[in-house]
Point group: C2
Chain length 89, copies 2
Amino acid sequence: MAPCVGLSMASPEPGSGSIGEFVRRRRKANRLSQRDLGELAGVGTRFVSELERGKPTLRMDAVNKVLLVFGKVLSYTEAPREVDLEAGT
Amino acid sequence: MAPCVGLSMASPEPGSGSIGEFVRRRRKANRLSQRDLGELAGVGTRFVSELERGKPTLRMDAVNKVLLVFGKVLSYTEAPREVDLEAGT
DNA sequence: TGAATATGTTCCCGATCGGGAATATTTCAG
DNA sequence: CTGAAATATTCCCGATCGGGAACATATTCA
């Protein structure tokens, strides 16, 4: 396995878009296939696919393995507004 | 279940400390027991405990349910350095 | 247009999450 | 110090994740 992907530019703010979008963007920017990324991160190809497509029930440890390839880790931010509890109104 | 906890101050940056620390801080600031928070979020008491103590294999959906109580959601940030791949040296 | 590659979907299945409740600890006020 | 409340740990167990591989599409490019 490669030591670490060269990576080009890094996103300034913590969450421009969903995690999945970020991963896909980065993966493509680095010309990696899902399989490649999966191997680099130590997760399966299917997982990479699910992650990029926004599956919500993924486990944090696996997600972090992928994010780490791009020098990121899971964190938290302000919720997108209105999305608090279902106690809307 | 209560509509939404009042919440006091909100952390400016997206990840001052671990997610678990954040949750615990917030929970206490709002005088909630783990059981209360669990009910508010719709997760079990044990889960809240594990989350606050930093268990890494938790599922994102459940974590988000808890974070949402405090108006947050999972996101990603710069990794703490050195923590990239295991390709150290 | 057709082949090659990448991505998405499905299946099998062991591993483990997460709820719930009981029990052991820890924490804290009086 | 003492007892109550809160938190941590353990157990049972259904539900589902995640790896791996096969197969179906979708993309890409010459």
